[in-house]
Structures are given as structure tokens and as C-alpha cells.
Symmetry: C2
């Protein structure tokens, strides 16, 4: 197994001396992405020009990338497409879901959902103007809140702040039994842990290309629709590349077959090709092996940090099976602590109001870096390196 | 003036021997984009990692690009943002427009609009489910159809197929007088001819980054909202980067100031940086000088082709002031003719059912290439090079 992760680590370019624990925010540069982008730009854009839509296969890239991602999240071929941003894909999924749910009015979510998901739901409700309402409960109250009044259950599997992991299978099963349509946001799941959309019977899923999938800054996102539902949906964002025959230029919209209809406009090809190349790091990698090592790395980090920094309060579940691929701690000066860590070459991130967050990504992070990061954190806390005005003047890390 | 265009031509990499008359579909590679992308990838993604959102200014890129585009379309600072695709931006604009138009139900457009715009309107109507209807008239009937029953006038200024140019100023004035909200699609206008959104009093505009703006394949699009309207709109696609304070991670959506609220999710940064670099070709270039030369190039091409190929029927307005920056002809075997042209290094494109289309882009196309293209077209037609089965077997040029 060590051989596997030595091999994958060599696929990425990480600056010398940097311990990068923020791959859950932006995955690092894969060498393949660098090479691929240079080639796409020079040979295809520069050399093939418009012809590259066919000769370089740009037109099919969203479907090919979708299938690569699908293989990591338990989705069959032809059920995932790479497109747009996570927020825009959630809009597509939620409007589609609400077209299936008749008179029910409640969209159930939780306070651990990523805020953009809640904002999108608010925008959908306001736009549809049909009396839907967003019911936000605490994460631990979600299961009890699923009942026959609920139209859609919309959750992020792994909490972006704490790493708390929902039980997708159990919640989806309960939702199904109550006739509730499910939408799962896999932003912190895809590439972080095994996901089984088919096995769980999830109706829709969306997720992000630039975190654990290493697709580059703002990489295109993805959307999954359960195969049985695909033909029942007419997309709200009915753009030309979701049309059955875009190049006939008919004046009437006819949705394309299967997941194709979830495409809208022309995709940002340069960002798409970087995502496609970044995904190649997963070739031959068993996500279960990644999960096993991720839990071991996170467990080790918790143990090391708690032994060294008793002031820090663990914000993540202690039980690895209930946690995503990150560890979060609380500190009242969390923002300044993270600035001091970054100044000392340990890069994690801060999430308001008081969370410092560390992502563990076995493809390129091992046990040595994990212990070394805990050592730097100890130094930052014990020597109060964070209590230094110049850190606070710096602009906010996102 | 020749000096200006010699200078701008040197900014692009076009393969030796190719006459590229398809910059209205995909602008060619700007050298600046190639260099910029290599640097963004190696230094910022690779070296700065997550920090690049601040250190490389990624977070403000959509606004900075928006202002660059704004300068080409008569839009004041802070009224344009680069984001998403043209289709998705039209969805934002149309839902916003319909939130301002009370009980009126008609969305007026024309049969010369780009089909994706009509498809998006259909999706908006279906999604809102409030009895709106799309009224599609012939381009020359638009003016007479503007009356007080119309909610929104939604037009593309330059017809993608024929190049016919609407009179934005007159139509917008008539719409305004009738209380109609206007949305202009500038896909074939921005960078092709002078646009004066402010002067015309247009309410919304959208457009494309990958045609005359040379932003690269599938480059992000843009959206303009008239400054006086910006604060009256709550976006349908209310994603986190349109929030007043995205990094506070509040559970409630509060729209950001001015045009910022038209951002939705995380933007595809690699594609954004290529667009930003492509736009630098416009530095110091007067769009009126470009327009003057574009008309001269198109006039010359029409004259040369008509003299050489009497079988071809002009599909574009003969009067340069009524035409965008392209020339289209009809031929019953248009698809095969275009394949034969491309095989002979003259790249234009085909639009179903019978249009061959040539874009003239003074930044990198001059009079010599224009005459040379007409000569190749003459050869293709006279020698029936298109009447060769192998061209028909090739996959469709998009």
C-alpha cells in the first residue's frame, strides 16, 4: 500500500517544505494537468482552433469526465456529467426534484450544510414562488425530521466545517420510504471516501471538481441523476448543449437523452481539461484503500495534536467512521492561528467563527507530514506565534 | 491604422497557411493567454495553492474581467461581471427581468435569435409556471410587435447565422416607452462592433467570452445589469460568491452589492485567466477603428465572392451598417462546401441548413487573407471539391 501512495504522491507538484493540508479546499497541481493544459492550449486551441471540438473531443469531455467521477461515487456510466459550478448544479437538481414532488412544500436540510446550498434553495423557493419552505434542523435531528410532509431532502454528506459524516444509506432509505426525493452534495465526499449512489438509491447528487478530485481552481462541478429519473425531467436550465441535437439549431427545445440534458451552455474547456487530467491520478487507485489510510492519518493527527495542544477543542467526530477526510479544531483566535501556521508552511484553512481545518489526502499526504504538521501547530500555540499583529493584517485566506 | 492591425495580428498564434475566418465561433490563441496560463498553473496553482485566491487576485478576477469587457460595450465600471456560460447568464437575466414586469406575460424574441436563448426562455417559462409565453416573430417584425402587452424584449443584436444587426438603440427606446424590460445578447457584438449599453438604456445584457473576445474554448461569459436595477434584483441563482459576505458562512442569503450578486458559484479560474489575457489584445485598440475595417473586409469579401461564385447566395445584409462582423452565403451543399474549404486551410463554419459563415476579425485578419479566402472558395465551388464523399464522412464541425 505504501508503494501505491508513493506512486501517487509523485504525480503532484507540491512546493518543497510545504505541508499541504488544504486539498479539501483546493487540490494541488497534478503534473498531468500541467502537461495537458500546455498541450491543449498549444496544439488544440492554437493549432486545431475550432476543429478541436471534434478532433480533440472537447464536445464529449463533460460526459467522459462524468464517467470518471461516476466510478468514484458509485454511479453507473452515463449518469454523471461535469458541468457548471456546484451551486448551479444544485439549482438544476433542486428545480428538477421539486417538479417531481407534487404538493409537498418542505425542503429539509441541516445547519451543517454548506451555506451556498442553503442560499441556492432560498433562490429556488423565491423564484418558483409556490410556497415551498426551507426547513433547517441540526444535523443530528435530520433523521427524525424526515416524514411525508417533506418534498426534498437536501444534504451535504460531509460537513465542510467539522467533517461530520451523514449516513447516506440510512437517510436515503428513510427518505425513500416516506416518498421524499433526495439530493446529496458530495463536495467533501467525492475522492475522499467511498460513495455508493446506486446502492443508496440517491435521486440526485452534485459535487465539486476542485477539492479531492484535484481539478484546479474553480474546476467544473458535476451532477448525477438516478437513471430511472433522467427521462422524467425537463431541465430548468435548458441550454443548447442539453438539447437532443444542438447543431440542428431548431427553435424548439427537446431535451437530450439521459444525463446529457443536464448540460446547459458551452463548458469552459481549459478548466475541463485540467479536471480530466487531475482525475487521472485516480487511475488504478482503490478508494477503499484511500479511505483506510485517510482515517489512519486523521486519527494520528488528532492524537498528536491533543497530546501537544490541550487548549484546542476537537470539532470533528472522534470516530473515524463518522468523519470525512478532515480534522477540525476550535480556537478562539482560529483565524490568527491559521495565518501563523501558513507562515510556517503548514497550509490548512480557517472557517468562521473559530474553526481551523486540516484536510488529509492520502494521494499526496503521508504519516510523516501529519506528525510534522502537529509539531508546527504545537509551536504556534505554545509560542503564541498567532498573537502577532502582522498576521491579522493579512488578507483573509479563503 | 495598418500599423495598429499589424501590431495586434502579432499578438496571436495562427498556424502557418491557415486563413482563420471563424473567430466568431472560437477566437484564436493569444500569445498572452498561453504565457499567462502557464504562469497561473505553475506559479499560482502549483506554488501558491489555496493562497492564490488572494495573492494572485483570483477572487476579484470576474469583476476585473467584467470591467475590461464593459469598456468594449459601453457599460460603466461595476456593471458587468464575467461568470458562467451565456445560457446560464441569460437564465439569471430573464428571471430577474420577469421579477420586475408584474402581470405582463409575453417574452418577445425573434426567429434570428440563437436557439439556446429561446431554449432558456422556454426553461424559464416552464420553471416559473406563471403563464408566460414566448412570442417569436421574424426579425423585421420585432419593432411592430413591441407594445404594452410585452414583459421582456429578448434579442441577440447580431444574428449568428446571417449577421443581420438589430438597431439596439431604436428597439430599446421603443421598448422603454412601452414599459418593456430589455435583454440583449451580445455574443456576436462584443469585440465585433461598438456597443453602447448605457447610451441605449438597455436593462440587461449577456454575452460570450470565446468569440470576438478571444477568451479560449468555452471561456466564461458575462452579464450586465443597468446600475439603477442592480439593487432591485434578488438573483434566482443565489450562490455563495454573490453573497454580501461569502466567507462569514451565514446560513441566510444576503445579496452582494451591485453586479456582484450576479455571481453564483466558484468560477473556473483557469478559463477565466485565459479570457483575461485574451482581452489584453484590446488594450489601446479603438473599437470604432475595428468596426470600420471589419466593414471594409466584409464588403471586399462579398464583392470578391460574388464575382467569382455566382451560385452562392448572399445571406447577410449587403449594407455594412446593418451587418455584424461576418458574411454568410447559402449553398445547398453548404456543409460539404465548408468541409472542402477547411481541408484547403480556409476555416469558417457551417450553420444548418445551408449557411456557410465567415467571420472577419480585424485584430488578426487583413485584406490579403480576405481575397485569398475568396480565391479558395472559388476553386472549391468551380472544381466541385465539395462533391467528394470523403468530406461527408467527416464528423460535423461545430
Amino acid at each position: 500500500m505504501t508503494d501505491l501512495f508513493e506512486r501517487t504522491k509523485a504525480l503532484f507538484e507540491i512546493p518543497e517544505g510545504v505541508i499541504y493540508l488544504d486539498g479539501n479546499s483546493l487540490g494541488p497541481l497534478a503534473r498531468a494537468a500541467k502537461e495537458r493544459l500546455a498541450r491543449e492550449v498549444a496544439e488544440n486551441w492554437g493549432g486545431q482552433l475550432i476543429r478541436a471540438w471534434n478532433t480533440a473531443g472537447w464536445i464529449d469531455l463533460p460526459a467522459r469526465i462524468g464517467n470518471r467521477i461516476g466510478a468514484l461515487i458509485g454511479a453507473p456510466e452515463g449518469s454523471v456529467i461535469a458541468a457548471d459550478s456546484t451551486s448551479v448544479n444544485l439549482f438544476k437538481a433542486l428545480t428538477a426534484a421539486l417538479s417531481l414532488t407534487g404538493e409537498r412544500k418542505v425542503i429539509l436540510s441541516d445547519s451543517g450544510n454548506f451555506p451556498s446550498d442553503l442560499y441556492i434553495a432560498e433562490g429556488v423557493i423565491r423564484t418558483l414562488d409556490k410556497g415551498h419552505r426551507l426547513k433547517i434542523v441540526a444535523p443530528e435531528e435530520v433523521e427524525a425530521a424526515i416524514d411525508e410532509t417533506v418534498a426534498v431532502l437536501m444534504l451535504t454528506e460531509v460537513d465542510y466545517a467539522t467533517g461530520r459524516l451523514h449516513d447516506m444509506k440510512a437517510l436515503t432509505a428513510k427518505a425513500k420510504a416516506a416518498g421524499v426525493v433526495t439530493i446529496w452534495d458530495l463536495a467533501h465526499s467525492a475522492g475522499a471516501l467511498p460513495v455508493d449512489l446506486s446502492g443508496a438509491g440517491a435521486d440526485f447528487a452534485i459535487g465539486c471538481g476542485y477539492k479531492y478530485l484535484n481539478g484546479g481552481p474553480g474546476a467544473p462541478a458535476f451532477i448525477y441523476v438516478r437513471p430511472e429519473l433522467q427521462d422524467k425531467i425537463r431541465p430548468s436550465l435548458s441550454g443548447w448543449l442539453g438539447h437532443e441535437a444542438p447543431f440542428l439549431f431548431d427553435l424548439d427545445y427537446r431535451p437530450g437523452p439521459s444525463i446529457d440534458r443536464m448540460r446547459a451552455g458551452t463548458p469552459p474547456i481549459l478548466s475541463m481539461t485540467a479536471l480530466d487530467a487531475g482525475l487521472s491520478a485516480w487511475d488504478g487507485v482503490d478508494i477503499h484503500a484511500v479511505r483506510e489510510r485517510s482515517i489512519a492519518l486523521c486519527d494520528l493527527f488528532i492524537k498528536e495534536v491533543e497530546a501537544r495542544c490541550p487548549d484546542l477543542v476537537l470539532a470533528s467526530p472522534r470516530d473515524g467512521s463518522r468523519r470525512g477526510s478532515q480534522v477540525s479544531f476550535r480556537h478562539p483566535q482560529g483565524y490568527a492561528v491559521m495565518q501563523a501556521l501558513i507562515a510556517n508552511n503548514v497550509i490548512g484553512d480557517f472557517r468562521a467563527p473559530d474553526i481551523i481545518r486540516f484536510g488529509f489526502t492520502p494521494l499526496y499526504i503521508g504519516f510523516e507530514e501529519t506528525v510534522a504538521a502537529a509539531e508546527v501547530l504545537e509551536k504556534v500555540i505554545k509560542e503564541k506565534l498567532w498573537d502577532c499583529p502582522e498576521f491579522l493584517k493579512k488578507s483573509k485566506v479563503t
